[in-house]
Amino acid sequence: MSNVVDMRAQLASAALPSPVLTASGCAAAGRELDRFFDVTAIGAVVTKSIMTAPRSGRATPRMAETPAGMLNSIGLQGPGVEEFIRKDLRWLRERGARTVVSIAGGSVSEFAELANRLRHEEGIAAIEVNISCPNVESRGQVFACDARAAGSVIHAVRRHTSALTPIFAKLSPDVTDIADIARACVTAGADGLSMINTTLGMVIDTDTMRPALAGITGGLSGPAIRPMAVRCVWQVRQALPDVPILGMGGIATGLDALQFLLAGANAVSVGTAVFNDPSAPWRIHNELAAALADRGFRSVADAVGYAHREEVPS
């Protein structure tokens, strides 16, 4: 490799040394993966969505393998924000990892409360707002599937978060027009957008002849959903050319990550691939660096959105 690629990435005001991050719900709070690679070397650890109170999550089975993917229905198991701050965030800070804290709530006020609680905590590079949660005040309608509800959550989080901390809205692909929701989130104050969350799926166990998951439906992730994710990034980049995008969905190799950059993502999250290869984020960082160098890119930034360029007639 003759040229050395500048691997720095920028997500709104957050400057990261690498464009490869973990994905929420696939890395716990970084500690387990630190046994396999140096979590301070990647862009950031994106933590599992945290809620105000401890939460048991769902009954088992919570998982089913699917072709090139998996279905999960964990139910946002977590220790609650206080223990998260006391243990997980502290560990990440002391370890020197950049941290993107994912927050989840059942109501606009729960999101606001979480933002407020995290406001004065040090070591938070950004907040990712997991709006793929049912709104308990609206008969379980998922925030991310309704532009107005999504906007209300983002507005509340923005209002309770320091202007120095960027907030990213995590979008669901299970909508008719993802650019509509993206626009609503940006209008409400999102500094950037994360996409995509899992897409809703279902598996029936042909032995028991019942749904395979205790939660009946679950979120589909893994390489199976990668084309859908690349499409979402492409569409949102076209609709909102200047909004930072954290892209994710089935990234398992450096070339997969490159697709996301070319489609318009400023950085990527590696999620389900970690279950197959716990050192995947760092491996993908290196594979991406080589892939960028091979194509003559001098920096990550040069590749962002490159697939949108006008075809120059030869």
Partner: protein
């Protein structure tokens, strides 16, 4: 009641290494897969498990398959060998047993919390259901090194579903076999003979590995007798390394609070009285953070 040394600490390890298949051999309905895995044998304690990627690269099978470690040998010419027992019932496990000598394997090991060993040389009864018996032979060796008497019970639905009968005779002071259909040994379940073995040899600790129902039975016997049980659970895992939260079961902590607890990192070995066996597969209402039953509280 006997006391136990602290479980082997989680660190150092686990290692993610390129393994190499040395042999695949049949054993009843199962296959024993032997592979070289540099550095793993030295770190392994009985009850640890291994997570192996299946299907080659690229694969449509994303999730590693987890197996308790049956045997390790540090003296192998290829830097230590590991043996696992595979029940080839799905495409991933079938892929594994179809490996040929020299094939590469992506291996993560050793994982999980192993069995704790008693500090005193007390008699122990080891109980394996089906190929769940895999880790018990290594455990038997460690216990006997400490001067513990080891009595072994192996149970299965039928003779071909038993694992380790020959090995068991060599390594334990006594071996009792049960099969549901009576094709070998006593007709019935392991719990039908357990009390008799405990009475006969004064067993102070029950170690078990096998299906949840069997482990629940062992834990109950231990509780009734006021002795200790340690059970290695077989929960479905997606990652094996503690990040996916799929392999949870309700476990009571030292503070008396029940939590949905990962069997990959906090387990797979639990003390029998820690696990809420009756509630396995559910979230008990008194579990920390259990959903309030009034609609709502359902989120992906």
């Amino acid at each position: 009641m006997s006391t136990f040394g602290r479980p082997t600490k989680a660190e150092p390890g686990p290692l993610q290494v390129r393994g190499e298949v040395l042999a695949v051999r049949r054993s009843g309905d199962y296959h024993v897969l032997v592979f070289a895995a540099p550095g793993v044998a030295e770190l392994t304690a009985p009850g640890n498990f291994v997570a192996i990627a299946v299907g080659g690269q690229p694969t449509a099978m994303l999730l590693r398959r987890c197996f308790s470690i049956h045997h390790v040998d540090t003296a192998g010419a290829l830097g230590g060998t590991v043996e696992i027992v595979v029940d080839a019932h799905g495409p991933g496990t079938k892929w594994l047993v179809d490996r040929a000598q020299g094939d590469a394997l992506d291996v993560i090991a050793p994982l999980g919390r192993p069995f704790s060993l008693p500090k005193d040389p007390v008699p122990c009864v080891l109980v394996g259901g089906g190929y769940g018996s895999a880790p018990l032979f290594m455990l038997a060796d460690r216990l006997r090194e400490r001067g513990c008497r080891v009595d072994l019970i192996l149970g299965a639905a039928t003779e071909s579903r038993l694992f380790g009968v020959v090995d068991g005779r060599r390594r334990a002071s006594s071996l009792t076999i049960t099969t549901d259909d009576g094709s070998l040994g006593v007709r019935g379940r392991v719990t039908d003979v357990l009390d008799g073995i405990l009475d006969q040899h004064g067993g102070q600790v029950i170690y078990g590995c096998g299906p949840m129902g069997m482990l629940a039975g062992l834990a109950k016997v231990a509780e009734q007798r006021g002795i200790v049980s340690q059970c290695a659970v077989e929960e479905a895992m997606a990652c094996g390394v503690g990040v996916c939260m799929t392999c949870v079961l309700p476990v009571v902590g030292k503070d008396g609070v029940t939590r949905m607890t990962r069997s990959c990192t906090e387990g797979p070995v639990f003390f029998g009285d820690q696990v809420r066996w009756d509630a396995a597969g559910t979230v008990p209402a008194d579990c920390l953070g259990a959903p309030v039953v009034e609609g709502g509280a359902t989120s992906r």
